[in-house]
Each structure stands twice: as structure tokens, then as C-alpha cells.
Point group: C2
Chain length 159, copies 2
DNA sequence: GTTAGTCAATTCAAAAATTGAAGTGACCTC
DNA sequence: GAGGTCACTTCAATTTTTGAATTGACTAAC
């Protein structure tokens, strides 16, 4: 499906990247979090070409990330909504925002996150579900399963 | 720099996406978290073309996400390391992993995250820094600043 | 009742990016 | 000195993306 050599990998990161890891897709998802729903608005607000938008929306729908809903029968008109799977991408978008805020910031932050439960504007952060402490870049280490590690040492192209 | 129409946007999400929001870049960063350091290993483990790897590494270095270090003078040989800015992308990678684990999973999880402070294998989660509760997709809402909202309503292509 | 406008697309040629294979240069090992 | 390693570069062929124009099914205004 994707142009890249990332077909069906074992690694869930590689799989996630193959599904939503491109510029326009991430931007579409971002727009959806900002409540953009219609073809023309995506076009207008992202500046992408209509051909590509059309392609990406089809791909995202096929993947179950978004759902197309008719809001008018004649003429046929559609809106796009995130599915549960799509909504669950919020952590990715917020992580990108957090990183952008920290490393690419201008003065203003045009988008803020509100925690509806407590009503506050917040910067959500990653914490350890075990000890409850916030986790930073230095507190974390990736572990590879034994078979995966061996596979990687031997083979070529094992994501 | 990027092929897309995402030059210098106000929105930090759009800026972040412009810097690291493409498939191969995310895969390179992922590999770095798995302690891959050398050109040939990136090539072997990701399956990307050497031309593109070379380009992407140059771009990431120019952006200050990675740093190139000589580990041999003659012949000249280099290793690539994440900078602090690059290491700070860990939350993005983990968010992608979390999403992949949930929505694209096979049986096995070849990569695990260890919290070095408490020594546990964990699934870090986003929490509210204010009330301390875990935040899910439904607990959160995006707020746009007044000027940004107005800009978007009027203009075309305002990320 | 014609003209203009909206909206969700599709079409198509030109431009740009990516692939895949081959090559390069500076070594090291057998 | 033949072959191998490593970090790339080069280049033609393929694939994607862009950008502009067009379509089709309407609705609203004059």
C-alpha cells in the first residue's frame, strides 16, 4: 500500500509508521483533532493538493482510522470523522506538539490541550504506570526480545 | 527543505511534522532508540536506499536531531547519535508504538520499554500534570487561540 | 431561467522524490 | 595483491506529488 518498503513488519512501531507516518497523513489527523471535517476545509487549511487529499482520505478510511459520513444525499456530500482507532492517535499528535513546543517554538502556542475532566489547560506528560513518576528521555531504555535481536543480527531488513 | 508545502508555520505540530514526519525519518529515529549507530546497519535494518539514508541523515544533522561522530580517522568512519533534541523524540516513538501495539498488533511485542529508575518494563502513559489522572482520547479537547482561530476562518493554508 | 457559487472530488501533464543497481575511495586482512 | 569493509555518491528508471483545470450535482441570486 505504501510506497516504502515497509510491508508487514513484526515491529509495531514500523507498522504504525507505515500507516500514519507521513507528513500529509499526520497533518490530516491533526486537523481532525482541531475539528476539521470537510474536504474543502482540509484543502484550504493544509494547502495540500486535492488529488493527494483524496488519496490519503481513502487510505485512512481503508485502514479504519477515519470514517466517511454523508451529511447530504443530494447533492452527495461527505464529512470525515476519526474512528476510535483514529482518536487513539491523539498521544502521537500531542507528543509531536510537545516536541515542537520545546524545540521549534515561536513565541505563541496557537493550540492548547484541555483536560476535560479537570477543566485545565495542560501539557500531558508520559508517566510510569508502575511507580507513577514522570518519564523523560533519559529514564528509558528499549529492550529487544531475544528472537528479535537474533533476527536483526543475522538478517537484512528486519524491522 | 521538505518537499511539502510546510515551510515555517505558526503551529508547532505542523513544524514538528515538517521536521520528522516522514516514514524513513521516523524509522531512522526508531533505530537510534534501538542503539543502531552506523550507516550500514541503518541500511541493513531498515531496507531503505543508501541515497535516501544519506539525505535523511544530512537533514537530521542540519536540524540538530542527530550528531555525526568520527570513530575512526583513517579510513574516515562515522557513527550517528541522537542529540538532546533527538532523544526528546522518544515520546513520539513510544506513542506510535503504543498505538501500533493496540491497533496493529501481532502476538509478540519485539520491543519493550524499560523504566530505568524503577527497573520495570512498562507501557508509559499520558497523564494530567494537574490532577495526575491518566488521560485518554476522550478526556481531551484542542483549544485554538483566538487569533489563530480567526486566521484559520479567513485565510487559506494556515496551519 | 440563466449565471454564479458550493462542494467533493477526478483528470492530466509537468516536476520532484525515490528506488535499485553500480561505482568510489580509503583503508584492512588474508 | 585479491578480496572485504564501510560510508558514502552517481545515475537512469520508476513512482509520487504538484498544480491547474474540469466535472457533476446540486442551490441561491438576479
Amino acid at each position: 500500500m505504501s510506497r516504502s518498503g515497509l510491508p508487514s513488519q513484526t515491529c509495531t512501531i514500523a507498522r504504525a509508521v507505515a500507516q500514519v507516518g507521513d507528513e500529509w497523513t499526520l497533518l490530516i489527523v491533526r486537523e481532525m483533532f482541531l475539528r476539521t471535517r470537510r474536504f474543502d476545509d482540509f484543502l484550504r487549511l493544509t494547502g495540500m493538493s486535492s488529488h493527494l487529499l483524496s488519496q490519503r482520505l481513502k487510505k485512512l478510511e481503508a485502514q479504519g482510522v477515519i470514517r466517511r459520513k454523508a451529511y447530504s444525499e443530494r447533492p452527495p456530500r461527505y464529512e470525515y470523522h476519526l474512528t476510535e482507532k483514529g482518536r487513539d492517535l491523539w498521544a502521537v499528535i500531542i507528543a509531536l506538539k510537545q516536541w515542537g513546543d520545546r524545540w521549534l517554538s515561536t513565541e505563541d502556542t496557537p493550540v492548547e490541550i484541555m483536560h476535560k475532566t479537570c477543566g485545565q489547560v495542560v501539557a500531558p506528560r508520559m508517566t510510569c504506570p508502575d511507580c507513577g513518576e514522570p518519564i523523560g528521555a533519559h529514564d528509558v531504555e528499549a529492550l529487544l526480545s531475544q528472537p528479535f535481536e537474533l533476527e536483526r543480527q543475522a538478517a537484512r531488513h528486519v524491522l
